[in-house]
């Protein structure tokens, strides 16, 4: 890396730091504060040390088992959603026209699902997925599938995946498309002179140039799927049983439903730390190649 070392660059970063610190610092401290205390109600808090953390992270306890179950369900969900959305998103971006009148309307259609507030997304799919009055449910039942998203775990789980793919693949598409358009024409001309195949252009020119954008898309989608709340809450309510009880849903159930602020705060910190660790691992692996490429 031949980046010049210059601490004056801090001056360019300061405004960002000010804005983010203002919103991040105090709330984070409050949550940490809750996680080490217990309450008997009426704003009486007492020191509880690391007991909540021990309980949450030990799968032998009831809370721990619950946390682990939600964590596993959530990881499986994130993995499947990413596996569909990233290749599909890049594929669609490659199919988009390079310019012309159709770009505008296509971008608008792509953006529409993301612009609907999440509670409305849940509500519309609640109707859309019903076999009696919704198109999606009726179509699946019509094809002879045994589909019921409120009674059947597999239907419920796959409905949430379908909703997520419908809702968020456009994010990958938009990022990839902007990334593809930022590639200089000189590369394509060179490839044409070499008579490179379409696949060779994709692997040798487009994919490497897209790497940074794809890191963003993958990490962002991972974070969002890992924190998914509104859609399963509205569509399946975490059920049937606990098939779609992902981490956030469980967390809110504990924090609000059972007014267990301490254990909920400990759980959310553990959850937050797991998210950060996983993202850090992804981030390091994916940017490692960057460094090697630049060296």
């Amino acid at each position: 890396m031949d980046k010049p070392f210059d601490n004056r660059a801090w001056l360019l970063v300061l405004p960002v730091l000010a804005f983010v610190l203002f919103s991040a610092l105090l709330p984070m401290m409050t949550v940490v504060n809750y996680s080490v205390q217990d309450t008997m109600g009426a704003n009486n808090f007492f020191w509880n040390g690391d007991a909540w953390f021990r309980e949450v992270l030990n799968p032998a306890t009831e809370m721990g088992a619950r946390f682990q179950g939600a964590l596993m369900r959530n990881l499986a969900f994130s993995f499947v959603a990413l596996l569909i959305e990233v290749p599909l998103g890049v594929g669609i971006a490659l199919c988009l026209p390079r310019g012309g009148w159709s770009v505008g309307p296509i971008l608008v259609v792509l953006a529409l699902p993301m612009l609907i507030p999440w509670n409305v997304v849940g509500t519309m799919w609640q109707i859309f997925a019903r076999a009696d009055i919704g198109l999606f449910g009726a179509a699946l039942t019509g094809m002879g599938l045994h589909y019921n998203d409120t009674q059947e775990p597999i239907s419920a789980w796959s409905t949430i995946v379908v909703i997520d793919v419908w809702h968020w693949t456009s994010l990958v598409v938009l990022l990839s498309y902007a990334g593809l358009r930022a590639i200089s024409d000189a590369y394509y001309q060179a490839a044409r002179i070499d008579a490179a195949s379409r696949w060779a252009i994709f692997v040798n020119i487009e994919l490497p140039k897209l790497r940074k954008v794809l890191v963003i898309a993958i990490l962002l989608r991972f974070m969002q799927t890992f924190m998914i709340y509104t859609e399963p809450f509205v569509v399946t309510g975490g059920g049937p049983g606990n098939a779609t009880t992902f981490l956030s849903i469980d967390l809110v159930k504990i924090a609000l439903g059972q007014v267990d602020l301490g254990v909920a705060a400990a759980m959310s910190l553990a959850y937050n730390l797991i998210t950060i660790t996983l993202c850090w691992i992804f981030y390091t692996i994916m940017t490692q190649q960057d460094r090697r490429g630049a060296a």
């Binding site: 609907i116 930022a182 140039k209």
Partner: protein, 269 residues
């Protein structure tokens, strides 16, 4: 990129169609009465009615809330993009003490579940006297939008060769002039995408927006909860509100479409 051929076009058309079906269903629902929606499957509204849209347009609370949401989202988008641009440049072009840690710390703010931050945010903004103003929501949304903007812009700045910076310096451009006149047009794709994403994430965020406001700065999303009432769910009202919420974002992406699709050409410098 697509250089002709029928197969990509067919694939794209099918995908867009699948994307539009639920959106169509939302519009369909918004034009039917609740009894009609619950009574059976209808591929198109047999007795279309704009009644629920009129309910929204005639109620000053809905109209006011729509304006409030637009205001804080616009403030947030402008702040996010403007402060993120120089920072993204710094992260991409220089090394400085703590740069990598700072960058990753910024990203960690995207990973915080908003639900757990709602109460502390309420306390914070109440204490500084911003509670129930559009600024409270605009600033709170900076928590995730500023890091997101820095991150996306950094990726796009990395695609611009450093030689351009050096050439401009030799040609006697001052840094601000170089940044605005030469550099910004080169990363127009990134700026367009970033602005849209900031707009979108601030627009659909509901939890913080409702927690930080009471009456004067009530966002559209909070008014929407009126459709869940004791007498049951008002499906068509919620659908009509949902259809209306898609419009501002669609307008935004329409305006930045040329930036997003802009090809990279050094010739413009």
């Amino acid at each position: 990129m697509n250089r002709g051929g029928v197969l990509p076009k067919v694939f794209l058309a099918l995908y867009l169609l699948a994307l539009m079906l639920p959106v169509y269903w939302l519009i369909n629902m918004s034009l039917r009465t609740n009894e009609d929606i619950m009574s059976g499957l209808a591929l198109w509204p047999h007795h279309p009615t704009f009644q629920k849209y009129l309910v929204i347009f005639r109620d000053p609370t809905w109209v006011h809330a729509f304006g409030v949401s637009l205001t804080y989202v616009a403030i947030n988008t402008v702040i996010s993009v403007v402060v993120a641009l120089p920072a993204a440049y710094a992260f991409n072009r220089y090394r400085f003490v703590g740069d990598k840690h700072l960058f990753f710390w910024l990203l960690t703010n995207l990973m915080a579940p908003a639900s757990i931050y709602a109460m502390p945010f309420f306390n914070l903004y109440y204490a500084v006297g911003l509670f129930d103003t559009v600024w409270a929501v605009a600033l709170a949304h900076c928590l995730f939008n500023v890091p997101l903007a820095v991150w996306i812009l950094e990726g796009f700045i990395g695609g611009v060769p450093r030689e351009i910076d050096e050439t401009a310096a030799i040609d006697g451009y001052s840094f601000p002039r170089f940044f605005i006149r030469i550099f910004l047009p080169l990363i127009a794709n990134g700026v367009g995408v970033t602005a849209f994403f900031c707009f979108m994430f601030s627009w659909v965020e509901q939890l913080l927006a409702t927690t930080l406001t009471a009456t004067t700065a009530l966002p559209f999303a909070a008014v929407m909860t009126r459709s869940y009432s004791a007498s049951g769910m008002d499906w068509s009202l919620l659908a009509a509100a949902g259809v209306l919420t898609m419009i501002p974002g669609a307008v935004v992406i329409w305006f930045v479409r040329n930036h997003i699709a802009r090809g990279f050409a050094l010739g413009r410098v």
